[in-house]
């Protein structure tokens, strides 16, 4: 037979349709593994294949979708993996009578893959490798990887298939949801970039929600890749009728979508769940004279995260690669890495992304640290919180590999150079993990002349070809040398960019910061250099994304380098800079709050504002200032702070302020009181307004609400004994007696624990104890409170002080009454 890839250049080929639905028609019980029928009911399997072959299928998928070791384990059939896969190929081959290609079919492992899931990436690779190897040995013409929901599992499968079945073409099909993204959030463009990185021969989609929703996804794939495209729609979503699974779309309805698929660029069309030989027959008839659409090859390098693709090259936005995740010269950062911590890395990743970095360089190289392990942790932590692609940066191949393995997208590696040893250790990793690589144009030494740097580029290209990489997998770093040390070399950098761009159309980046080393006003130097480099054709830079001038330079230079059609990005950015400048101006003018009046405030007014606005950092200096002005400490507490917190309470009552404001205000006041405390104590002991024993009831471990209530009460001068959470009844009663409490306050957040409140109240009443009982917590209601006989119920933290005041006032009145 003519090799399949050759035929695909000029013909549209037909796949088969559903296997499962037809096997069910032949008696396959629901929930039984169809793959086992390769051994148990071979004639039925061969008969289904034959039906499809007769209907016009050019490619038959083997009945091995679930025949990986992991999936067969579910049926205790893993020991028969070889027989099942061999039989799968042989049965399809026999039925095809030499007229169809046999695609060894591989489905998902049935598990989730690290870092997302429970099985390690390499375990997953070995599972797929084993099955691919068996399918190849049995004589498959190509391997089909189908119905993948997670790009990380597809990556593992592709590595496994390339290693297990070298030389066989691969058809890689993802499953997209109705919204055009996969379960794990990848859009078609991202999927295309990852699959192109692995050099798959055919990519596409199968299963999903039906042909109508799949067509737009196919169109999007067709717009971003020149790779052959395949589509296998299902006949709509299944329905369950009278104990049977049925599919809503008929063969006639399904085939109506075929011309649209061809127009979108499909080279292979078949069917998935619910499709039949009748559909394939109609398809064959309908597409008889159709020819595949020619699609042009893009020269852009595309890297991606799990959810976002980033093109690098001519005519697309300039790429900013954040340089800040790097311990060099950063003590705290280095120490955190040495301890295996990722919190500073995560913080920097967030900050760089918010500052506008399109990708992040990740370097965790600290002496004596297991860099491979740390790279793993860093990559996992970063990809959890940002969705930009990563640039894995290390001088150790082991660290590069652990980063590449766990990054669920297409990473860029920093870097390879023209040294043989580095080429031999880095380029195989780029190939295995479908990544892209930055190629530094240095070798044993750093060439000064552009022509010598180009020689290194040629060497790297030749090596890349040897390892099966494409030119688009390489991004050249032309070496931004320090201009104060080697001025001519820095100029040659620009010349190198011009040559690579004009003669090779190659993408280029530079590490920017070095260029200005040793000079004053460094930002001016490297931002100017950047503008010149963009003029020469530079596509991206590893640089400081916090530098506003750098963003402005890039935006302006993009206007002159064909990267910003109609100046739209520049105008949008300029508006942002203007807003920032305005905010900066007003800040330097001393406006701390938008509500600040024009007239200067008195210290008392400032204290009030600090409490009402929750300006925790401001209260300390203000209290000290008030003391310096001669205000007595007690007066600051009673006449300045207390009215402020009452005002906040009033605003809360009017729904102008909310619980967070109350808490921030109370916390601010607490901080102010802490400063006043020594002065107040110097004047002698103060009499508390009342004593409250506060606890979260037994069994309950929630206490944030209770803690905030205590804060409020203490600010108002109450003595609160905080017993903590999960407190047994006897402990509460002992504390109340010992502290001579007037009130026992109980908190609960669970319906299952609030019953403890009733037990406590019953105990207090039956023992004739004098305490009033307040209850509160998210699940407690006024009705429940009344039913259990509580003396007070607080809906939220806003009610705790007025409620306490009322109860103590009533208590006071009772005690005043003569016995």
């Amino acid at each position: 037979m003519i090799p399949i890839l050759e035929r695909l250049q000029r013909e549209i080929l037909l796949l088969d349709g559903s296997m499962g639905a037809l096997l069910q028609g032949r008696g396959l019980p629901p929930g039984y593994a169809p793959d086992l029928w390769n051994l148990e009911r071979p004639d039925d399997i061969a008969a289904v294949h034959a039906e499809y072959a007769q209907a016009g299928s050019n490619i038959l998928l083997t009945n091995t979708f679930g025949a990986s070791r992991l999936r067969l384990q579910e049926y205790q059939a893993e020991s028969r993996i070889r027989e099942i896969n061999e039989a799968g190929v042989l049965l399809a081959r026999r039925a095809s009578k030499g007229k169809a290609y046999i695609a060894g079919d591989i489905g998902p492992s049935g598990s989730t893959i690290a870092p997302f899931g429970e099985i390690t990436f390499e375990e997953a690779v070995s599972i797929f490798r084993e099955q691919a190897s068996l399918l190849k040995e049995a004589g498959a013409d190509l391997i089909a990887i189908e119905t993948m929901f997670d790009i990380q599992e597809m990556r593992a499968a592709l590595i496994g298939v390339r290693e297990g079945a070298p030389g066989l073409p691969v058809m890689a099909l993802m499953t997209f949801n109705a919204d055009g993204i996969t379960d794990s959030g990848s859009d078609p463009e991202t999927v295309a970039s990852v699959l192109e990185g692995f050099g798959v021969e055919i990519m596409g989609l199968n299963c999903s929600v039906g042909p109508e929703a799949m067509l737009p996804v196919l169109k999007r794939l067709g717009q971003v890749t020149h790779t052959f495209l395949a589509i296998e729609p299902n006949a709509g979503l299944p329905l369950h009728k009278d104990g049977k699974t049925v599919y809503p779309s008929s063969a006639e309805e399904m085939v109506e979508f075929a011309p649209g698929f061809v127009e979108a660029g499909a080279n292979i069309i078949g069917g998935c769940c619910g499709t039949t030989p009748a559909y394939i027959k109609l398809l064959s008839k309908r597409l008889k004279d159709s020819v595949p659409l020619a699609r042009s090859r893009s020269r852009l390098t595309k890297i991606s995260s799990r959810t976002r693709v980033l093109p690098i090259g001519e005519g697309v936005p300039f790429v900013i690669i954040g340089e800040k995740i790097n311990p060099t010269g950063k003590k705290a950062f280095s120490e955190a890495i040495a301890l295996g911590k990722t919190d500073l890395i995560v913080a920097e990743a967030r900050k760089e992304t918010l500052a506008g970095a399109h990708a992040l360089d990740v370097n965790v190289g600290v002496p004596l640290v297991d860099e491979a392990r740390m790279m793993e942790k860093a990559v996992i932590a970063i990809q959890n919180v940002v969705n930009v692609p990563l640039v894995i940066d290390s001088s150790f191949a082991s660290a590069l590999e652990s980063g590449l393995r766990l990054f669920p997208g297409r990473a860029l590696v920093n870097s390879v150079n023209a040294e043989e040893e580095r080429i031999e250790e880095v380029l195989p990793l780029i190939k295995r993990y479908g990544a892209a690589v930055i190629a530094l144009l240095s070798g044993e030494d750093i060439p000064e002349k552009a022509s010598d740097r180009i020689k290194n580029a040629e060497k790297i290209y030749r090596a890349a070809e040897r390892f099966g990489l494409r030119h688009e997998d390489i991004v050249f770093d032309t070496l931004a040398l320090t201009v104060s040390a080697v001025q001519e070399a820095a100029r040659q950098t620009l010349e190198t960019i011009r040559i690579l761009k004009s003669e090779w159309k190659a993408p280029t980046v530079i590490g920017l910061s070095n260029v200005s080393f040793g000079l004053p006003s460094r930002k001016t130097v490297h931002d100017t250099f950047l503008g010149m480099a963009i003029g020469a054709g530079l596509d991206g830079a590893i640089c400081d994304p916090y530098d506003i001038l750098l963003h402005q330079t890039i935006s302006a230079a993009s206007l002159f380098s064909g990267r910003d059609p109609e100046c739209r990005v520049y105008i949008k950015n300029a508006e942002k800079w203007a807003q920032t400048a305005t905010a900066g101006t007003s800040q330097t003018a001393g406006s701390a709050s938008p509500s600040e009046p024009a007239l200067p405030l008195t210290t008392q007014e400032k204290i009030e504002r600090a409490i009402v606005e929750g300006e925790r950092e401001a209260i300390g200096p203000l209290v000290l200032q008030s003391l310096e002005e001669g205000t007595p400490p007690f007066s600051i507490f009673v006449d300045q702070m207390t009215p402020a917190i009452r005002k906040l309470g009033d605003l809360f009552g009017q729904r102008l302020k909310f619980i967070p404001h109350l808490i921030a205000g109370a916390d601010t006041m607490k901080k102010g009181v802490e400063i006043l405390q020594p002065y107040l104590e110097a004047k002698g002991p103060t009499q508390p307004k009342g004593t409250i024993v506060f606890a979260t009831v037994k069994g309950d471990i929630h206490d944030i609400g209770k803690n905030i209530c205590i804060l409020m009460l203490r600010n108002f001068g109450y003595r609160v004994i905080d017993l903590g959470r999960n407190v047994p009844l006897e402990t509460i009663l002992e504390a109340a007696e010992k502290e001579k409490a007037q009130i026992v306050a109980l908190s609960a957040l669970m319906t299952t624990t609030m019953i403890q409140m009733k037990i406590a109240i019953d105990a207090i009443r039956s023992r004739n104890l004098p305490y009033k009982v307040l209850v509160g917590g998210a699940v407690v209601t006024p009705k429940f409170s009344a039913e259990i006989g509580a003396d007070g119920y607080g809906k939220d933290v806003g009610e705790v002080v007025p409620l306490t005041e009322r109860i103590l006032e009533e208590l006071g009145k009772c005690q005043e009454k003569p016995a």
Binding site: P660, D667, H702
Partner: protein, 227 residues
């Protein structure tokens, strides 16, 4: 049709996440604001933003679901192939009566935020509160995230989903947590129970979702168990 994942729990580690300002403001019951900038209160904005950024450093999203095959329904009991004691109560029967499968969901954000909240409660109560609210939303977020993953599987299999029904909610006793934890092997995502059947870490959620044959999808907004 992709196989329904039966027999074993499906685990998700390192769940990617975003902490949306809108949701945190909602969690703090600040109405009509969808971003911190809209507050117009620099001190409050700064305080909440700090808690959000800390959340990014501390949240470790993990989840698991396990689908069970329903074999029969009777008065106040839904039987499955895997357990005949878990799904009890009138509300449970109402929830699962038209279902072929029931899936248990458990998710957590790990212990870091609540440890930090405990540490800060005394010295910095406002910060503790803000961080706790971030944690509370993110625990919900992880539950919703696992729910969405499951929902896609349910739809692809030709079913519609019921709402999430929390363990301990209505007449489903909280003591059922013990069996939920066992069936989902929730210890593998770091969750255990205390003597009152409360999940530790506290910032965790657990629930059940049914797979309905046909029919309109029920409201998904019903509460799940949040510690």
């Amino acid at each position: 049709m992709p196989a329904i994942r039966l027999g074993q729990p499906v685990f998700f580690m390192n769940i990617p996440f975003e902490i949306e300002e809108r949701q945190i403001l909602r969690e703090m019951r600040i109405p009509k604001k969808s971003s911190l900038a809209e507050l117009g209160e620099p001190a409050m904005e700064r305080a909440i933003r700090t808690a959000i950024e800390e959340g990014y450093r501390m949240v470790e999203g993990k989840g698991v679901y396990r689908t069970l095959s329903i074999t029969g329904t009777e008065h106040q009991l839904v039987r499955t192939k895997e357990t005949e004691t878990l799904f009890v109560g009138e509300k449970m029967v109402k929830l699962l009566k038209n279902c072929d499968y029931a899936t248990l969901i458990v998710a957590t954000i790990g212990p870091q935020i609540e440890n930090e909240v405990d540490r800060l409660t005394g010295p910095e109560p406002a910060h503790a509160y803000f961080l706790e609210r971030v944690g509370a939303w993110m625990a919900d977020y992880m539950g919703i995230w696992v729910d969405k993953m499951l929902e896609r599987e349910i739809i692809r299999a030709g079913y519609s989903r019921t709402y999430r029904f929390g363990v301990g909610y209505g007449d489903w006793p909280l003591s059922s947590q013990t069996e939920v934890m066992k069936l989902t092997r929730a210890d593998q995502i770091g969750i255990s129970l205390n003597e009152a059947f409360i999940m530790l870490p506290r910032l965790s959620v657990s629930a059940v979702i049914g797979w309905q044959r046909g029919g309109a999808r029920q409201n998904t907004q019903e509460a799940e168990t949040e510690n």
